[in-house]
């Protein structure tokens, strides 16, 4: 593992465009930002403002059309290495034909962890999220909140340096949403990981230290604290 003083992600003039010609859509336009180690960042903005795309770029799941993105903490793109970055997706991202514990085990197995060890870590992670009773259930048998908590447990099990959460509470009621964000913060603290949450919910954003605002693909990282919270309230 590299030095903890290194930033996790550095973006310079990063743009991501989908499509070509007249039908081209600029999802992210010339974004410049740095995700520091242990950072707690909320990326706020209206639906379709480019938050998810930005997070996919951070996680190495997508490549920029122009600009430069780097991961100084690892010195290489994090894709294919689940212990670098863990992602909690917007919707149901569990494998529909694997049960809960198998879902949590999966990224560990991709890392080469033995089946036995992976099972142990998965159950430990489920216990941490207080959902060990769901271990044998299939995703279709879970509620939205339970499914999202399993997604978080899956991320926690891989012990990543950076947790990316893309609208993790978008489909949840307020109480469950609050619980999920608390769980995410708790996980980030326990793993000493950075946390970037894309959300349009000001109440969720309020739990985080930094508020970055996305508006029609343009990222504004200058606002912080109350100013950002207000902006996120406006965005929602």
């Amino acid at each position: 593992m590299t030095s903890s003083s290194q930033p996790l992600v550095e973006c310079r003039q990063v743009s991501r465009t989908f499509g070509r010609g007249s039908s081209a859509v600029v999802a992210v336009h010339a974004a410049t930002c740095v995700v520091d180690d242990h950072a707690r960042i909320a990326v706020v903005g209206a639906s379709g403002s480019g938050k998810s795309t930005l997070l996919h770029l951070f996680g190495g799941l997508d490549s920029p059309t122009s600009g430069h993105i780097a991961w100084p903490a690892w010195g290489r793109p994090p894709r294919g290495h689940g212990d670098d970055v863990g992602t909690v997706f917007q919707g149901a991202s569990l494998m529909p034909d694997l049960n809960v514990v198998e879902n949590v085990t999966l990224p560990l197995l991709f890392q080469g962890v033995s089946q036995h060890a992976a099972q142990a870590r998965a159950r430990e992670s489920l216990a941490l999220m207080d959902i060990e009773t769901l271990a044998e259930k299939l995703p279709e048998e879970l509620s939205g909140g339970q499914a999202q908590r399993v997604s978080v447990a899956r991320v926690v099990a891989t012990r990543p340096r950076l947790i990316l959460a893309d609208e993790p509470t978008g489909q949840l009621d307020q109480s469950t949403a609050r619980h999920v964000i608390e769980v995410l913060l708790q996980a980030a603290d326990e793993l000493a990981a950075g946390l970037v949450v894309a959300t349009h919910d000001p109440l969720i954003a309020a739990h985080l230290d930094h508020h970055w605002v996305m508006h029609e693909g343009t990222l504004d990282v200058t606002m912080a604290g109350a100013e950002g919270a207000a902006a996120s309230a406006g965005a929602s």
């Binding site: 998810s52 529909p96 034909d97 049960n99 085990t105 990224p107 299939l138 279709e140 899956r154």
Partner: protein
């Protein structure tokens, strides 16, 4: 709403729509091609059957005074093109003096041939030498009398002095059996063989030879030979009925004075049985293909079932009524059915042009329209069944907003618990056994009834076996993926390593989809295997039949009464291209009071010139039978019928009466029974004997050869045959395998079955590849999301492939194993059930290994390509997939 839905459907689900339409297209193309092929084949059968007849009707006139009125009635009968009277007279014998010796024959027939006869009935004779203008002799008579054109023969007349005539030509009478039939007599009282000695005199010469007053009364009989119009209904059955009705009508018109010997009807009668066999083949070979294509379409369509149900649920929440949703699915079905049908018909026309040389879908424009229309209806029916029916079922079953699809803790299908697969297989065996008691007699010809029918019950056995095998394969897949998950995990371990258990778990929950794909691949392969094996066995037996009838590639048959020594083989062997020559003696022997053909061979060398199949012998192989014959000088192989009649046991002594050459008297010769022979090259269908030529020569004092079997290695048969004919002249008859092929084949086999085989094999290949690639690909495509999640969770390319390849590997292995076993079983069953198509019955299946290898590789390749394509797509389009999460 309809247009928005359609637009969205085409834009967003275009791939799946096209895949479903492709399934419909395969079914439509198969139905249209095969249906049209058999329709035109029936017409071809009728035409060929009619064209092969030399004289359509032989109307026997009972008394001389009635000849003129009967002739008038025949000429006036609708459909008569020409009618000529032919007079028959018996002769006590003929003799001729040539080359200083005088040769005599036994009794024979003399015919009075009217002018223009040979032009009206060109197939009635084949000129061997000289010209047709004058007195003609049949080839065997010329050989017996040692005469050639220009020589004079003397014809003995009952009650009158012999008649002298100069020979103008020597001819062969290819249809002498029907020419010398006893018109109006039942088949059992027909002559065993046509007369050996035949002279054909021009009517003017005949009138001099047999003028009234010069001969005894009652010596002459008259037949009116009729050429009928061959503009018959295309269906052989209809043609037969029409011809028979015309013949009966004539008999009624002549008040019984003229009795019709209906050669055309007899040929059409055989053709209508063959037409029914064609119908059987169509059902056996076409129906499974069409069913498979329908099942394939259903599988393709159901691959998107979850998505469709979700969309339906969403539309319902937005206020769409059930009737509206049903209408949407009907529109989708009609769209898919129409596209599929059009593509299918175009493919059928293309294949028709490519394989049969004609793009037409039927013998007539009306038939083409009927077949095309039926095929389109079938296509639309399939698409309605696979699209509208599931949609209707979903709508009827409730108000689910979201659905769970095919995964999860779904119980195994109900039929598994009831053991439907075992019930089907048991019923198949029972039906098969019941049909076997009827000797697999598929085409029924009830005595005295002019119609024939097909025993469709016989189809039930293979159909149930096919369905049972499919369900059993499903059971095995279910068992392996559910309870045998550990086994699957162990199997995957070397490739999947730590992921093996997870992949096995995932497959277990997808077992319904996986089992369906594996069963489809297995069924498609079994269809390809059974079709190809059946066709291959059919070809093998058709060839064996031709060789059995002809004897060898080329056979030189000596005229009866001539004495040609075996040494002549050396001269024949010198003809360029000849690989081997084997002499075969042909004698007659009395077994008790029964006169049977006896063949003397050299058992150690006979197979150099001809092929002997194991099926020709009973309770022993061909090699064993020949070995037994060679082991002692007086061994004899006899027919099963003789063994039963005389209660023979191996090693028993048989005393047969054989003619001694010098004295022409019969003497008892002792043989030892060493085995049973059912068929032998050149031998008749009824009882006969095969023994050692050397022993026969020693006991009868003559080594005269009946025929020489010539092996040309299957090459240049016709030209070598011609060279041999030139060498032996008119003293012997030379026949080649190529000509015999056409003659022995029934009208069914004379139809271009090569094209049909090609057609079936192409479709089998397409169905196998589609079942493998399309079904697996679409099933995997529906799980692109899972693969995208795996990518997002850090799976590298190898792991992603492992994750995606478990299912196709299982489908491929189970599909190939199931297909091979079911295909083998069905081939055995098909060949047994369709035994009537084969003559002689095959001893073993002919397996076309090359084609089957291609089909298996195509299937595996299609599965692998689909899997790799989907995995690649999932890997490269992760972002797109993730945006949908």
């Amino acid at each position: 709403m309809m247009s928005i839905w359609l637009h969205g459907l085409v834009r967003r689900r275009g791939g799946r729509l096209l895949a479903t339409a492709a399934g419909v297209a395969i079914a439509v193309a198969l139905m249209a091609s095969l249906g049209a092929f058999f329709a035109s084949s029936k017409a071809t059968m009728t035409n060929r059957a009619a064209q092969g007849v030399a004289v359509d009707w032989q109307v026997a006139v009972k008394t001389a005074p009635k000849v003129a009125p009967v002739l008038r009635a025949v000429k006036a009968a609708p459909g008569t093109i020409a009618a000529l009277p032919v007079t028959f007279a018996d002769t006590q014998g003929m003799h001729a003096t040539a080359g200083g010796t005088t040769q005599s024959t036994g009794p024979g027939e003399v015919l009075g041939i009217p002018a223009g006869y040979w032009n009206t009935f060109p197939k009635a004779s084949r000129l061997l030498s000289g010209s047709r203008n004058g007195v003609l002799l049949a080839q065997q008579t010329a050989a017996n009398l040692h005469v050639k054109p220009g020589d004079t023969i003397v014809i003995g007349r009952s009650g009158s002095r012999p008649f002298h005539a100069a020979v103008a030509g020597v001819i062969d009478l290819p249809q002498s059996d029907s020419l010398f039939q006893r018109v109006g007599a039942p088949s059992q009282s027909q002559p065993v063989a046509p007369p050996d000695n035949v002279a054909l005199l021009p009517a003017s010469v005949f009138a001099k030879a047999y003028a009234p007053g010069r001969i005894a009364p009652g010596v002459l009989t008259t037949q009116i030979h009729v050429k009928r119009s061959h503009a018959l209904p295309p269906d052989p059955s209809a043609a037969f009925t029409a011809d028979m009705a015309a013949a009966l009508h004539l008999q009624a018109v002549t008040s019984g004075a003229g009795v019709v010997g209906d050669n055309l009807g007899a040929t059409l009668d055989a053709a209508r049985s063959d037409a029914l066999y064609a119908q059987i083949l169509f059902l056996f070979l076409g129906a499974p293909g069409a069913l498979l294509a329908a099942a394939l379409t259903a599988a393709v369509s159901s691959a998107g079932a979850t998505r469709r149900r979700t969309e339906q649920a969403l539309l319902r929440t937005r206020g769409a009524t059930r009737a509206q949703l049903l209408r949407l699915s009907v529109i989708e079905a009609v769209l898919v059915g129409a596209i599929g049908s059009i593509v299918g018909l175009l493919a059928a026309t293309g294949l028709g042009a490519l394989i049969f040389g004609s793009p037409s879908l039927g013998a007539t424009p009306g038939a083409a329209i009927a077949y095309a229309g039926t095929s389109v209806l079938v296509g639309i029916l399939i698409s309605v069944l696979v699209i509208v029916f599931p949609a209707f079922r979903d709508l009827r079953d409730g108000s689910r907003i979201t659905t769970t699809g095919d995964i999860g803790r779904a119980a195994s299908p109900r039929w598994l618990r009831y053991g439907l697969d075992f019930i089907f297989l048991g019923a198949a065996l029972a039906v098969f056994w019941a049909t076997s008691r009827n000797q697999f007699n598929l085409v029924l010809v009830p005595e005295g009834v002019p119609t024939i029918s097909v025993n469709y019950w016989a189809f039930l056995g293979p159909a149930l076996a096919w369905a049972g095998a499919a369900l059993l394969a499903w059971r095995i897949a279910d068992l392996l993926l559910n309870r045998g998950s550990g086994l699957v995990s162990g199997f995957l371990k070397p490739v999947a390593h730590e992921l093996a258990r997870t992949v096995a778990s995932q497959m277990s929950r997808q077992r319904r989809t996986i089992a369906r794909s594996a069963v489809l691949v297995g069924l498609a392969l079994s269809f390809a295997i059974s079709t190809a094996t059946f066709n291959s066995t059919y070809r093998q037996q058709a060839e064996a039949d031709a060789q059995l009838t002809n004897g060898a590639d080329v056979t030189v048959t000596e005229s009866p009464g001539t004495s040609v020594p075996p040494a002549r083989a050396a001269a024949l062997a010198r003809v360029p291209g000849v690989k081997a020559v084997q002499p075969v003696q042909h004698r007659f022997a009395y077994v008790g009071t029964d006169l049977q053909d006896l063949y003397g061979i050299s058992p150690r060398t006979i197979t150099k010139a001809t092929t002997l199949q194991d099926a020709y012998f009973q309770n022993a192989t061909a090699a064993q039978s020949l070995q037994r014959l060679a082991s002692g000088p007086n061994g004899v192989l006899v027919s099963a019928e003789t063994v039963n009649s005389f209660q023979l046991h191996l090693g028993d002594t048989l005393r047969l009466r054989l003619q001694v050459t010098d004295s022409h008297s019969y003497r008892y010769v002792t043989f030892r029974y060493v085995g049973i022979v059912n068929e032998f090259p050149t031998a008749p269908k009824d009882s006969f004997l095969v023994t050692n030529a050397s022993y026969v020569a020693q006991q009868t004092g003559s080594n005269a050869v009946g025929a020489f079997l010539v092996n040309t290695g299957g090459q240049n048969i016709s030209s070598i045959g011609n060279q041999i004919q030139n060498l032996v002249g008119t003293s012997a008859k030379v026949t080649g395998l190529t000509a015999t092929r056409g003659q022995v084949s029934s009208s069914l086999t004379s139809v271009d079955l090569t094209g049909l085989t090609k057609l079936e094999l192409i479709f089998a290949l397409i169905i196998v590849a589609a079942a493998g690639g399309l079904v697996t690909g679409l099933a995997l495509n529906e799980r692109r999301k899972s693969l995208a999640i795996a990518t997002a969770l850090g799976a590298n390319s190898r792991q992603l492939r492992t994750f995606g390849l478990g299912e196709p590997t299982f489908v491929a292995i189970l599909g190939v194993v199931t297909g091979a076993l079911a295909g083998w079983g069905l081939s055995e069953m098909l060949v047994k059930v369709l035994t009537g198509v084969f003559d002689p019955p095959p001893a073993h299946l002919a397996v076309p290994w090359n084609y089957l290898s291609i089909v298996t590789v195509a299937s595996l390749l299609a599965i692998a390509l689909a899997a790799v394509f989907i995995a690649r797509r999932a890997e490269t389009n992760v972002h797109e997939q993730l945006r949908e999460l």
